[in-house]
Structures are given as C-alpha cells and as structure tokens.
C-alpha cells in the first residue's frame, strides 16, 4: 500500500490539470512582453502613426518590418538579461558602470519619462473631449484613479487591470476595417519599400516612427518585470515568445492605425496635427463608429501608459539607488517610491491643465533627454549582455551581436537626427 503513493500521486496531480499545466505555465510567464509592447503604443505612438498615415498614406508601412526586427532584438536582450541574472537593468548598470553614470542616466530617463507622462495626459484630455468631457474633469479624474490603483491596489490587481487594457487595442484593426482601405496597395507597400524620398518631412517622420517605437524606458520595464515574475533561465524560452509576440502586436496595431488614416485622411487630403484630430476627421469619412473607436483606443492607450510609465520609472530609479520600492509596500516603507510616483502623476496632469503652458517646448526637451539616454542604454545593454561573468553561455551569438550592433548604431544615428531635427523645427517655431 505504502509504495503505491508515488504512482497514485502522479494520477492525482493529473486530475488537477496536467493538461492545463503548459497553458497555465505559459500564461504565468506571459505578460511582461505583452504589457511592455502595448504601453509602447501610447498617446505619442498613436499620434505619430496617425500623422504618418495621414501625411504619407501607405508609403511608411515598409518601415514597420525593420522596426519590428529591431524591437525584437533589443527587447529580447533585456528579457534574457533579466532571466539569466535575475537583476533589473538599472541594477546591472549601477553595479557595472558605477554610481555617477547611473545617476545622470536616471536623471535623463526621469526627464524623458516625465515628458511622456505629460503627453499621455494630453492624450486623455484630447480623447475625452471628443466624447464631450472637458479636460478639467477628465484629467484630474484619470490621474487620481491611476494613482489610487497603484498606491492602494495590490500587485495582482494592477497586473490584471493592465492586461485587460491590452485587450482594448483591438479597436484599431476594427477602425481600419471600417475605413475600407485598398488592401492590395497596403500589402504591396508593407513588403516593398517604394516611393522613398529624402526630403526633410519624410526623413523626420521615419525618425519619429523609430523613436516612438523603441524607447529606453521599455528595456528597464521589461527586464524588471521579467525579474519580478521570477522567470528562470529554464523557462526563458516562453518569455522569448512573449517578447516576440508582444513586439509583433505593437507593430500590428501601428500598422492598422497607419492604414486607417491612410485610407481616409490621406486619400481625402485632410491635414491633421494630432491623434484626436485624426479621430474627429474620421467621422465624416469612415462613420461614427470608426471615429469613436479610434478615440476610445487613444483614451485607453493614454490611461494605460499614464499608469505604467511613472510606475516603471519610479521602479528603476529606486532599483538603481537601493531604495525600497513596490506597490505592495506602505508609504512609510517606500517613501521615495511613492513620492516620485505621485509627483510624476500630479505634475504631469497639472501641466496639461495649465493654460498657456509651453507644452511643445517641454515635450521637445523630454525628447532630447530621451535622445541622450537611448544611445547610452543601448550601448550599456550590449556591453552587459556580452559579459560572460554575467550571462555565462547566454551571451549574444556572433550573428545576433552583428544585428544588435547595427540596430544600435542605426538607432543612435536616427535619434541624433530626431534631436537635430527638433532643434531645427521646434525651437525655431
């Protein structure tokens, strides 16, 4: 009788769901990649994609494939470092490159993420105004709700809310379908780069597309959430799929936004300056539902990113300096964590409500900070991921390294171009 226990146990374990085991395991690991990818399509992202579609039609679609590859390469490295070392990126940078570099890098990231947060709240204001809610009500309300969710909520609740928010990105494909695009032209322009030009408008848009898709904060956020999930080397292959599918989802959403705007706004020669503009202009062209969905998508993305961005920022700033952090901690236990988080949200929302605030200038400065931080972060990542004492046999392969370095160099060049472009255009204007 006694000896039977092991065999019996296996049967019983089976009853509890061995068949579901793989599924549950995968769902347990999934999340970091998908959430990161979707935050990437934030208010700034949606604006850029809308503008690309409205100004250049389908001409920009070809960029999405190389962008996806670059995104996968960069994100995969971050996730791998998280799984192998069990440490966040800020952690690794601090430990390997010293406190001074870390401090100034964190300062730059704080500035760039603050700018992004401001643009998320601007997105909330714009999209709610389409539904007839004045920004005086929507922005404080959303800011407070986000703050409350993180400060008073538990980690599980926060993650669930975030995952639900991810689902709402399906509104963009629906919007695009309602716009009845010319699918043949769309497919052609996606696969084959055509009508490439070198005028400043086209290059500027190209740079903006790349810049909005690959941001420094994402690598920190992704790596930390991989660590937080306790994903081990052995189960890393599942995370790799999470990352890859997340990147693809990001760019599929981008694809549909561009298509929706190309089929309507570009086809009718309507000029827009923002994503909210795009939503409003869609109404006469693609119908009320397409416009409402578009606006709802913008709202969802803005709220979602306004919640995650400050959270991600404060997580890795605390990580770098060894301050207590975590949504499960109380205020007294994690003062720095909650103070920075609250300040980012309050100041982010306040600036949007401040009449006559030089919003464009602030956004440009944050983009500048972003441009300074991104090359540093990418180079740090490549140096770290190739250190054998950290990564063991999980260092980059030669081919992967080649792709990664090329991506990094191109990214750096494009980012510098973006910053230079901004200096020329925005400060002059």
């Amino acid at each position: 009788m006694e000896e039977k226990a092991p065999a019996l146990s296996a049967c019983a374990a089976g009853a509890r769901g061995i068949r579901w085991k793989q599924v549950v395991l995968f769902l347990g690991v999934i999340g970091p990649g998908l959430i990161t990818a979707n935050v990437d399509n934030d208010a700034g992202g949606i604006t850029t994609y809308s503008l690309a579609g409205a100004q250049f039609g389908t001409r920009m679609l070809w960029t999405l494939i190389p962008i996806t590859i670059a995104l996968v390469v960069v994100q995969e490295m971050a996730a791998r470092m998280g799984a192998v070392t069990g440490k966040g990126l800020a952690d690794l940078i601090r430990e390997n490159f010293g406190v001074k570099l870390t401090f100034y890098l964190m300062l730059a990231l704080l500035a760039s993420n603050y700018g992004n947060t401001v643009s998320e709240f601007a997105g909330v204001a714009a999209s709610m105004e389409i539904f007839g809610v004045p920004k005086w009500i929507s922005v404080p309300l959303v800011a407070f709700a986000i703050w409350l969710l993180v400060v008073r909520g538990t980690y599980r609740l926060v993650e669930r809310v975030f995952l639900v928010a991810c689902v709402f990105y399906f509104v963009y494909p629906v919007s695009a379908l309602l716009a009845h695009p010319d699918w043949k032209a769309v497919l052609h322009d996606t696969v084959i780069p055509s009508r490439i030009s070198f005028d400043s408008g086209y290059v500027g848009m190209l740079v903006a597309l790349v810049g909005t898709t690959i941001a420094p904060w994402m690598q920190f956020y992704l790596q930390s959430s991989v660590v937080e999930k306790g994903i081990h080397k052995d189960r890393y292959w599942m995370t790799r799929w999470d990352v890859v599918s997340g990147c693809i989802v990001t760019d599929v959403v981008a694809f549909f936004i561009i298509v929706a705007c190309a089929a309507t706004l570009y086809a009718h020669g309507i000029a827009i300056t923002s994503a909210a503009d795009a939503a409003r202009s869609l109404e006469p062209l693609a119908g009320r539902y397409a416009a409402a969905l578009f606006a709802f998508g913008l709202l969802n993305a803005s709220v979602f990113s306004a919640a995650i961005l400050p959270l991600a920022t404060v997580y890795y700033v605390c990580e770098a300096f060894g301050w207590e952090a975590g949504v499960d901690k109380k205020f007294g236990e994690a003062r720095a964590f909650y103070s920075i988080y609250t300040a980012m949200i309050v100041l982010g929302a306040a600036v949007v409500l401040w009449p006559g605030f030089p919003l464009i200038r602030v956004m440009f400065l944050s983009q500048l900070a972003n441009g300074i931080a991104l090359p540093l972060v990418l180079v740090f990542m490549l140096l770290l991921v190739n250190r054998e004492e950290l990564m063991g046999d999980q260092v980059n392969g030669r081919a992967f390294n080649a792709v990664a370095w090329i991506t990094t160099v191109v990214m750096i060049a494009l980012t510098l171009l973006l910053v230079a472009n901004g200096f020329g255009l925005k400060l002059g204007a």
Partner: protein, 471 residues
Amino acid sequence: MSRKRILRERGRSRGRKTIECNPRFANTVAVASNGAGAGVDPRIGTFIYFSELLSRTVVDAVGKPIGKLWDLSIRLPEPYPSIRQLFIRPPGQADLLLVAEGSQVRSWTENPIPLTARVPDLRPSRRKETTEIRLREALLDKQVVDVSGAKVERVNDLHLLVAREGHLVLAHIDVGLRGLTRRLGWERGIEAAMRLVRPRARYLGSEEGLIGWKYVVPTLADPAGLRLALLTKSIGSLHPADLAEILEDLPSESRRSVFDALEFHTAARVLPEVDPRMQQDLLTSESDPERAADLLERMPPDAAADVLAELPEEEARNLIGRMQPEDARAVTTLLGHEEDTAGGLMTTDLVTFSGTMTVADAFQRLREIAPDVEFLYQFYVVDERHRLVGVINMRRLFLGRETDLLRDAMTPWTIRVHPTDSASHVAAVIEKYNQAAVPVVDDDGVLVGMITVDDVLTEVLPLAWKKKLRL
C-alpha cells in the same frame, strides 16, 4: 585631508515593525566627543571612506608613484575584518593590477598613500582566493543583506577605520543618501545647503546610513562553506517572515544560494512565507532533491500541495516520490481537488479522537502528536468508519474533567462543508458561525479534512467589509 568621523551606532527608526529586537541597540562600537584634529580619541582611531581612498595615488618607499589604488581586499569571516591586500593600477596598463600587503602600508591617512615596499617587491594579481572579498568588485554598488534591519540594501560607500595599530578595518557599509552624494562629488555642497535649511536633519547626523559590518551579509555567489558560516550566525536569527521578504528582494541567483545555505529548520519555516512563484523556483533549484522533499514534508500539507500544483508534472512526481508515504498521500489527496473548492483549500493535518476516549486520554494523545500538528484548537470526534460525529475544542478539553468521555463533552456537529463547495461558501460558513475552522465531510459523512480561517481569509475579509458597509 582625512575625514575624521566619530561614530555612534544607533538604531534607525523604521517604518516596519521588526519582531526581533534590533541588535544595534545592544552594540556600541564607539562613543566619543566630536573631535577634530587632535581631539580624536586614540582608542578609536580615524575613520575614512573607501570612495576617498579610491582616488588616491600609492607611492613606494622612496616616494615614487606606483599607480592609483584600485581595490582593497578583506578575508572572511571576521566580525570586523582588516584589509589584507591593496590592488594598485599602474598608469596606462589597463589589465595589470599590482598587489601590496596591508602590512606594507606606512600610513592610511596620508595622500598619496606611502608603502614601505618598493615596486619590484610587488607582484601582479592572481586568481582570487575563495575566502577573499574585494571591496570594490564585490561590495561597492552591490546589494547586501542588512541583518539588523532585515532588508536588502545597496552599498553606496564603505566606512573604514584606521585602527591604532596602524591597520585598516572595515567597520561599516554606507547605504545612506550621504554616501550617494559623496560618490557624486556633491557632499560638501549639499551638506552646506542642508545646514542652512534644516540644521537638525537626520541627513547631517554622522551615522546616517551606516550599518555595522557584522550585520551585513554579502549576497555575492561565493563558496557555500563560507556563506554557510556567515548565514547560520546572522541570517538564521531573523524572523521567517522577514527572511522571506529578504529572499524576495534578492536577485534570483543569490536568492537560491542563500536559501540553499539556510539550516534545514530555518528553510522549512521560511519557505511557506515566500511568494508562491518563488517557492517553486527555490524548490526546483535545490541542489539536493531529498532536502526539497523533506522541506515539503515539513510544510502544512495544503501549502505543500499548492506549491506542487505549480510545478511541472515530472518534477512534482519526483518530489512526491521522495516524500514519506503518509505525507505524500496527504498531499496527493489535496492535489486531486479543484483549487478554489473546499477540497483544494483544506488540510488533512488534523486531530481526530474516538468518542469512547476520556479527556485524559485526549490530552495524552495530544501530547504525543502536538509537535507535528499545525492547528491545535479544534479537534474532531469520529466513529470507527471515520465519520464525523462531533467537535471538541481546546477550551472545552481544558475545562473538562479528566474522566469525562469525549462523546459527552463534544458538541454534536452540524456545521460542515462538502469538498466541492466553493471557497466563498466556505468563507461564508466560517464568517457566519464565527468559527476558527470548519470540517470538510464527504457524501458518506466521512471526515476528509479541515479548513482553517487563514486559508479563506481573502474570501472572509470582503464579507466582513460588506457587512460593515451594510451592502
């Protein structure tokens, strides 16, 4: 100029309640008048920060520069270890480190640092010894466990004591803001500003952020033997809940090696407190599967079943196979139930008596089995076919006469749940009847398990709130 710091050890006020008394209160390294220059107490010596030493040049016996000080090493385990070796980087040679012995230093407080040796006496650095810790490589900017505060900290600087015998001793690690500003080169500016704005700020206290080295456990992966010596001494004294929190804060590699090095009974108490995702990681990465199985046996069967349910089939089967047959059976029974039902929540770790036993018999039996039973408040009276006939709690046993039969002393039981009942139903029953536990009884009236209130707490609390809000 060397900085002279007089140090008082004092417990910092903490947000979190620690159950252990803070060992810092018990230990005073040195208390002295705040002396500058000649006022320094010769019994204590001079304090100096590692970050200040690092920028200095090292010169040989005749004053010829050798290079910049790159690193210092100490040897473990010593409560306040002295510096054994210096690593000097000659200019222009990126991959060469010259080693000097700590005893070859003429004075630690001078800048540049003079040695008694000449360059030809110095040898290049070789492989690290296992008991050696290099301060810059292994401690500066790294995470350590602060045993006195029961948390993980990041080292901003190291506080060294130039003892009166002339050797340098590692006295404290600096995890404070001041250490951070010092490294950034802003210490003076910020200090001056703070004195103007808030002269009594905690930041300005000389002990801000300093933790005695003897309360520090480095988390770097080094030979287990060495770590074990350190851990059993210091980490093992923490409350399991604190230790679990520390484990959660550590990077995964360190978490595993720290857990691996814990004494068995400490590990068994810590494991149930750790986040379930990490429990699984810790168990599967145990170097010795027998120890993992033993740990599972020590856990309450319901907690063990929860961990096993999360593991891949192969590993779960392997671990269950290594468990004692009776523990294995208990766990497998629980694994057969859906997670959110009474069957999945219940534990089989309960005490049953026969109705014909007396109160004295019951006490006798409790004395025998008590060490292995988690919940010692409510006991069940069953018939010969293990059907539930009544319940008796500890209070009733205490108040009963020794000769009373349990059959007469017990309460005939009517409150019970079925293995397929939902967790929320169980919570409702417990809440309604104000019970600490409720028996789980199957279709034939057979007692199969028990659910204690803590297992459904997450379900009970919302109920209590609803009641409060009169919803």
